[in-house]
């Protein structure tokens, strides 16, 4: 039996209400609820998935939901072992209205800049994050710029188009 099938079965036995699928031999996809994320991450960290590679965010505007994707890999394993067990995508959806979720810094400290970036570009609040300040941008935006309903052309015309050019001086 493949290693990831074994882990997927163990996950399904341990946690209720999660969907586990193995689309490839070296990948496990988990759909979970907001409240379960911390416990699942802690469980996987004890299983050897000790590296949070990325937190990504997807804006599903038709379903009015944000999807957060936590990508975990086993770090400091040799390549043969990594090829057997692969990486894990833990997916979680939250509603688009007033999006809020808890931070995972207590388990993976390197989540801090990822969560700051998602807060800045998608407007998701992470409860318990020590500093949710600007990371990349300079201005405050009414709609965070990576959301699907942010109209870049209208914004550019409003902000940069309204700045007048400098007149040529008359001599």
């Amino acid at each position: 039996m493949k290693m990831n099938k074994k882990l997927a079965e163990e996950l399904e036995l341990t946690f209720k209400d999660i969907e586990v699928s193995t689309p490839e031999d070296t990948k496990i996809e988990i759909f979970a609820h907001k409240e379960q994320v911390l416990t699942i991450l802690r469980f996987l960290k004890n299983k050897g998935y000790n590296h949070l590679a990325l937190i990504s965010c997807v804006d599903w505007i038709e379903k009015a939901e944000f999807e957060l994707v936590y990508i975990l890999t086993p770090y400091l394993q040799d390549y043969e072992a990594y090829k057997k067990i692969g990486d894990i995508h833990l997916k979680m959806r939250i509603p688009r209205e007033n999006p809020e979720t808890g931070t995972v810094i207590s388990i993976f400290p390197n989540a801090e800049p990822y969560e700051r970036e998602i807060h800045e570009l998608f407007g998701i609040k992470f409860a318990g994050h020590p500093r949710l300040t600007h990371l990349l941008l300079e201005r405050d935006y009414e709609i965070p710029p990576f959301r699907k309903d942010f109209d870049t052309r209208e914004y550019v015309e409003d902000v940069f188009g309204s700045i007048p050019p400098i007149k040529e001086e008359k001599e």
């Binding site: 990349l136 941008l137 300079e138 201005r139 935006y141 710029p145 942010f150 870049t152 052309r153 914004y155 550019v156 902000v159 940069f160 309204s162 700045i163 007048p164 050019p165 400098i166 007149k167 001086e169």
Partner: protein
């Protein structure tokens, strides 16, 4: 230099000095800076033209704005430009400072750099070849000879409008005005 040029150089020795000693402030704004290492090293050896990159804006008199300018980079660009001693010349390098280039609808990149600081000339292209830098430099020599490279004088004269545009883009600025601003006019 032929003999006729000697008299000209002695008459206007200031211009002569400015022309053949462009010291470029080493400031990377975007992808365009990738063209600068071949220009200043042995392949295209910019020191033949008197171009040397220097570390601080206090020593420099030429400012190459290489590539797109995000809002976050605009603030140090203005500060760097204001710290340079006069006479100072600016050249926008690449299509992005001219009108936004491929970032024309980006939410975080300024579109027309000449709204915020004065520009003496542009090098169009994405990317311009290193030869284009030398063509621009020789154009700048002609402009200095004819007294046309006076963007820094324009900055002093129209500082009120430049400062207003900078504040519109960046919000409140953390440094005092470089030149006095008359509110009455």
């Amino acid at each position: 230099m032929d003999r006729e040029q000697v008299i000209k150089a002695l008459k206007d020795s200031g211009k002569w000095g400015h022309k053949y000693s462009f010291w470029v402030v080493y400031f990377c704004t975007g992808c365009g800076i990738i063209e600068i290492p071949p220009v200043i090293t042995s392949r295209w050896d910019a020191e033949r033209f008197g171009i040397i990159p220097v570390a601080t804006p206090r020593q420099a008199n030429l400012f190459l704005i290489t590539g797109y300018v995000s809002l976050k980079t605009l603030r140090p660009i203005i500060r760097t430009y204001e710290q340079m001693p006069e006479p100072k010349y600016t050249v926008g390098f690449g299509s992005c400072p001219i009108n936004g280039g491929m970032y024309w609808d980006s939410y975080n990149t300024i579109k027309h750099l000449d709204k915020y600081i004065p520009i003496d000339g542009w090098i169009a292209g994405c990317m311009p070849r290193p030869e284009a830098i030398f063509i621009a430099i020789t154009h700048l020599w002609t402009m200095i000879d004819k007294g046309m490279a006076n963007a820094y004088k324009k900055y002093r004269k129209q500082y009120k409008y430049y400062r207003r545009n900078q504040e519109m883009a960046l919000g409140e600025l953390q440094w005092p005005p470089l030149y006095p601003i008359d509110e009455d006019e």
